[in-house]
Each structure stands twice: as C-alpha cells, then as structure tokens.
C-alpha cells in the first residue's frame, strides 16, 4: 500500500531560473538609508532573511536582502526584490497574496504575469514543506512594513 502523496515533479521544482537566482541573487546586500527592515527566520528549517526597504511615500524605492537557506527561499527572495522594487506598497502586498494563492495551488495565480520570474516557483505548491521557504521573503515584507 502506498500511503504517500503522488510523486511531484523535481524538475518543475528546480528550474534553471530558480537555480540562477539562488546562485546569482539580485539585490543582495545591505541597503543604505533603509526606512524599514526586518530579520525573519523559518524556525522549522533555519532559513534566514534580513530584508531592508526604502519607502518614499507609498512607493518601495529600493530593496535589498541578506539571507541563508535553501534554493527556494533564497531564489524567492531574489525574485521578490525584483518585482516589488519601484512598486507601490499596496500593490506589493497584493502580490504577496497572489504568491500565497499560487503556493496553495491556485492555477490562475500561477499565470499572473505581474509575478514575473516568481511564476517559476509554481512547482513548489506540490511540496508543502517548501511552501514556507517560498513565502519567507514575503512574510518578511509584510512584517517589515507592519512595524
């Protein structure tokens, strides 16, 4: 008897684009003049992210991160910084919700072009334990602007 879930697709999980962001993260480093920042970790696996933002009015003018962790969390952070930079905060938070929907298997969200490279992470939805990894930078974003 096979009591486990159906086999998900490893190659859908580890796409070129994800490994590329993992190995050549965009917007990695410290941000001078940050207005908001937060350090978050995933207590279940130890992945870490330190996110820094510069908000001007309601626009995310710049964003950087420092992090350690698996390819999913680090690629997600890198991709996130790309799509939220220069965006209005409200739009960025709406994207966080789209991302969450995609992580929970919402196919429409996975086709949403505003998510940019992040759509490459759609395969994570099949790996429930890794969903937290993909959401880590987004949760950091929400935390940062809450404070």
């Amino acid at each position: 008897m096979d009591t486990s879930r159906p086999e998900p697709q490893l190659s859908a999980l580890y796409q070129e684009l994800i490994l590329d962001h993992y190995r050549r993260p965009r917007n990695k480093g410290t941000l001078e003049g940050a207005t908001h920042s937060v350090a978050l970790n995933n207590p279940l696996c130890g992945d870490e992210i330190d996110l820094q933002l510069r908000l001007e009015g309601d626009v995310i003018k710049d964003v950087r991160f420092i992090g350690r962790g698996c390819s999913i969390s680090q690629a997600a952070a890198s991709m996130m910084t790309q799509v939220v930079k220069q965006r209005r905060l409200a739009d960025a938070l709406a994207l966080a919700d789209r991302m969450s929907a995609m992580m929970h298997g919402d196919e429409a969200a996975a086709r949403d072009r505003t998510l940019g490279d992040l759509r490459a992470l759609a395969g994570v939805a099949k790996f429930p334990v890794r969903v937290k990894c993909a959401m880590l930078p987004w949760n950091a974003l929400k935390d940062a602007v809450k404070s």
């Binding site: 490893l10 999980l13 490994l19 962790g69 390819s71 999913i72 890794r130």
Partner: protein, 409 residues
C-alpha cells in the same frame, strides 16, 4: 553485519512504499521505527493490563503496577543502573535533563558558579543549563571541538580549572557521530569536584552502555530513539543524589503526607514521578530493549560502524561532498554537505526516491557555527539498514548533483 533485510520484516512501516519506492529510512538519530513486538506489547498492555498504577487494590491495577515496575527493572538492567529506584521514567532525554537542571541544578548552582557543556551538545543539553545559569547568575562554559569534530581535551581541562558545579556532555554526538570518551571525561570532572550528566540519547540505542562503568552521576535516554514508543525515556541516576534532591513536579504519587500548606515526599523513584505515568511507554520501552538485546548491542554497534564507514567512503568519492566528524571512534551518524546544494534541497530530492534523511542544524546551532555551515544533511543508520540503503543514498544524491549541475544527468 546483521541481516537487515530479515530485520526489516519485523517493522510494519518499513514494509510500506514511499513515492513508489521502498522506504529507506535514514533518520534514526531523530527517531526510530517500531518493530511489531513493540506494537504488540502496547496493544497487549491495553487489552489485558491497563489500569492506573500504585494505588489500586484490585488485581488489574496490581498487574499494571507490576508491568510498570518490571519495565523499570528492565531499563535498569539494560544500562546497569545503580538500582531500579535510580530509574525515573520521563518523556525522553529532554525532560530528563530538565529534571536535573530544575531540581539538582536549582538546589546546587549558585551565583558565580560554572556549568560546563560542550560545543557539540544538543540544544536539549544546553538550553536547560543556559536557563539555569541565567536564573542563578552562573556561567556557561562551552568546551570547544577539534577540527575533526572531537572534544578538545585540553580545552576540557581548562574548563575544569574553573571547578564547575556540573559537567554535561553527550556520549555520542547526534550531529557528528563522535563517540566521546565518556568514562575518562567523567573521571576528570569528578576529580575537579563536579557532578556529571551524560546525554545518552544517541548512545543508548547504539552501544552497550554501563552507567556504573562510566561512573557518571546522571544519565538521560530517549525510548523513541531505540525502537520504543514516543513519549518514553528515563533519567538514570545515583540514588543517593536523587534522594538528596528537592522534588521536581508536585502532584499525585510523589507525596507521602499532604497538609494544607506543605507536604512530605515519597521515596524513590516515586518522588520524581508526579501524576499518572506513561505506563504504556514504559512497557513498550521494555519490549524494545528485549528486541535490541535479542540482536545484541555489540553486534548493533558493529553493524552501524560498518554502514557509516561504507557511507563515508562512498560519499567522499563524490566530488563536492564534505563529510563532517571524525573518521574513527564514531557511531552510525554521517553528516555531510554537497557543494552549494542546500541540505534542504538534498532532503527534498532524496525523498523522491524514498530516502529519508534529515537536513538542518540538528538542534546543534553552536556546533553549526563552528563548522561554519548553516545546516548539514545527515544520514543515520540502525539495525534495519544495510549496504543497499547506502547505495540508495548515494544514487539519489547523484540526482541532486545532476539537478544542480554538478554531475551530468
């Protein structure tokens, strides 16, 4: 080598499939699977014997009490405890260590005192001492490790110069597999006037343990890591020390006379077992010990050393793989990293082939900092693993290498 394929047939879970593969369970340092004999012991207990212990005047309650106390004696014999009443049942190693920190520690550690731990201790043998030292204004002194993942004996010696009140260390490291020279460490610590706690979570399942030969003062173990039920474990201690300690939990069974505002306490071991104990857990642990002794602890240790040796040998041949910990004096725990592939990614990829390993800091963050990694992948072996499992590990690892571009797919 043990006939692991034969042994596997005793383990219902290992007969299941995982992602259409036979389950290759290599996370034994976290918890072990249970043989049918243990499941039968639990079911039989509930079918024939279940009652609350120690206070019943009817036959069923007497049988339950006898089963519970027989389990205590079984554990005592297994580790050569000083006396059965020196065995206090707990939920596991963590609770056993917290009991010592909360009772012995609170009563004996004072401001300015030192408690010695090691850089390879599990959080469960570190955080209770941190909390105690913070409360008391005492100091934690962490003994360093050598390059190859052993305790640094000269640093241990320097730590003892502070004449610590208590010295705590793991017999076997859950992250590196190092077997520490526990008897020697205990002797040195005693000579410096310290009381000695040995974290036996990883030694009890895998080696023949003799606490009297070690001559430690406290020894903690977890049943679930040695084929026993979840929620079972014990503190094994010198009765005279336990006797002198204040109680830990208050409640039923641990008292002698209860007045409105104070109480007198029961004799050992009941003084430290407040409330209804986990009788099922004790009975299941005793059945697990029977099973393990049926195989023989020496043979188990030998089997695991052989598997770990094979794993280290094969892993070391993969370019980009780093294996941590010493090459000898080690148990069946193998921690490694593979290039820049994060251990979590390794675990996810291996899982697709039914290979279950752990990835993370293994509750040893101070150790990870010293190894200069955030996490490792860890394979840990037990009686039901064999060379096929080592091959399954390295084969699946090749897939990870291919996905991350280390080796051609």
């Amino acid at each position: 080598m043990l006939d692991a394929a034969r042994i596997r047939t005793d383990f219902p879970l290992l007969r299941q499939q995982e992602n259409k593969h036979r389950i290759v369970y290599l996370d034994n340092a976290a918890t072990t699977q249970k043989p049918q004999a243990v499941l039968d012991a639990l079911a039989n207990y509930y079918r024939t014997t279940n009652a609350n212990v120690h206070r019943g005047a009817y036959d069923l309650a007497i049988r339950a009490t006898e089963a519970y106390e027989a389990a205590r004696s079984r554990v005592a014999r297994f580790v050569n405890a000083w006396a059965p009443e020196g065995v206090v049942f707990t939920r596991g190693t963590t609770e056993a260590i917290n009991l010592v920190a909360g009772s012995y520690g609170r009563a004996n550690v004072r401001a300015g005192d030192t408690v010695v731990v090691t850089a390879m201790d599990h959080h469960s043998n570190l955080v209770p001492w941190q909390i105690l030292c913070q409360e008391k204004g005492a100091t934690i002194r962490m003994v360093e490790i050598t390059e190859d993942g052993r305790l640094d004996l000269s640093d241990f010696g320097r730590a003892l110069e502070r004449r610590p009140k208590l010295v705590a260390f793991p017999y076997v490291s859950n992250a590196l597999g190092t077997i520490n020279p526990a008897a020697q460490l205990a002797r040195l610590a005693h000579a410096a006037g310290a009381v000695v706690l040995v974290d036996g979570a990883q030694s009890t399942p895998h080696l023949r343990v003799d606490v009297q030969a070690l001559d430690c003062d406290f020894y903690a173990l977890s049943g679930h890591k040695m084929l026993g039920p979840m929620g079972s474990g014990a503190l094994v201690a010198k009765p005279a020390l336990l006797d002198a300690m204040p109680p830990y939990h208050g409640g039923g069974e641990m008292i002698s006379r209860v007045w409105d505002d104070h109480s007198t306490y029961n004799q050992l071991p009941h003084k430290f077992e407040a409330g209804t104990p986990n009788v099922e857990g004790a009975v299941g642990l005793a059945a697990a010990i029977d099973y393990l002794e049926g195989i023989g602890l020496d043979r188990i240790a030998e089997h695991e050393v052989a598997l770990a040796g094979a794993a280290i040998e094969q892993l070391s041949r993969i370019e980009g793989v780093t294996v941590y910990g010493p090459r000898d004096h080690r148990a069946g725990v193998v921690s490694f990293t593979y290039g820049d592939i994060h251990p979590h990614d390794i675990a996810t990829i291996l899982d697709q082939d039914g290979v279950c390993i752990r990835a993370g800091h293994h509750c040893t963050q101070p150790l990870m900092r010293r190894l200069n990694v955030a996490a490792t992948a860890r394979a840990s072996f037990y009686v039901y693993n064999d060379r096929d499992d080592v091959t399954a590990l390295t084969t699946a690892l090749a897939k990870a290498g291919a996905l991350f571009g280390y080796v051609p797919a």
